[in-house]
């Protein structure tokens, strides 16, 4: 059933499971290894920022290389919604923030949440930017001029002639 959606096919589900299990285990181990100075949730903060950067790098790098199909799609599923999805966590960010504020540490809680969002967006954008510069779309490459699918959005790549303009636009 090659036309059924990805989330209903066995291999994609297995890849996401394997990546998610490994990513979750990695986050758990980081939590054991990293300290939480002054009871601040440094492990969650660190894995989330690293994961946001890595996911930006991965998705943009794959996108620059060609369409989301074949081995490229399998790598994306294993490391994107799989490993990085399991490695990073949104629920811990929210609950840790709430626990800090419930202890009366409003500045720490607010700072943690705001810093996670601002630096998380910056880290993901930095990952996209690094991949966009590492893997430039080759001149006249077939099939990738218009758009390909990331795990999240259809991103319209610029035609080769518009490259300089789109680079400015991303910054």
């Amino acid at each position: 059933m090659p036309d059924s959606p990805l989330h209903l096919r066995p291999l994609p589900v297995v890849l996401v499971f394997a990546g998610g299990a490994a990513g979750t285990l990695a986050r758990y181990l980081v939590g054991l290894a990293l300290p939480s100075p002054a009871a601040l949730p440094l492990p969650t903060f660190a894995v989330n920022l690293v994961g946001a950067f890595a996911l930006g790098l991965l998705l943009e790098g794959l996108l620059r290389g060609g369409n989301d199909a074949g081995w490229r799609q399998r790598v994306r599923l294993l490391f994107g919604p799989g490993f990085m999805g399991g490695f990073t966590t949104y629920s811990s960010l929210c609950v840790e923030t709430v626990l800090l504020t419930e202890q009366g540490r409003y500045f720490s809680g607010g700072g943690y949440a705001v810093a996670s969002l601002l630096l998380g967006v910056a880290a993901a954008a930095a990952g996209v930017w690094v991949a966009a510069n590492l893997f430039r779309v080759p001149e006249g490459a077939p099939g990738i001029r218009h758009s390909t699918v990331t795990s999240t959005q259809v991103l319209h790549l610029a035609a080769p002639g518009d490259d300089a303009e789109s680079q400015r636009g991303e910054r």
Partner: protein
Amino acid sequence: MIVPLLVALAGGVGAVARFVLDGVIRSRVALLVPAGTFVINVSGSLLLGFVTGVVMVGAEPADVRIVLGTGFLGGYTTFSTAMIETVRLLQQRRWVAAAVSGVGMLLLGLGAAVLGVFLGTLMR
């Protein structure tokens, strides 16, 4: 040894739950923002708040919180996808959608976590 293994398995199950739910929502709902990640992260924050609230009153051993919270709900929710979706919206200059995806999700997630902790502490 058994706890790390259970954390990994629960994380894999959580990741698959996210993958399937996101796919289902994506195929049926076309909204301002990617609704799948939004629903997943807010519901996961509610549930982790609940689990944390229950453990705070000592109703469950800590290992349950680690496997369900760090494992399943950590694997279910995702920070990295939320960030990249916000970046993609910013790239498309969809400022309102980007604000909803970034700030709106965080505020609703925090509200859900507050509600979850409160409900959890009622479970005496």
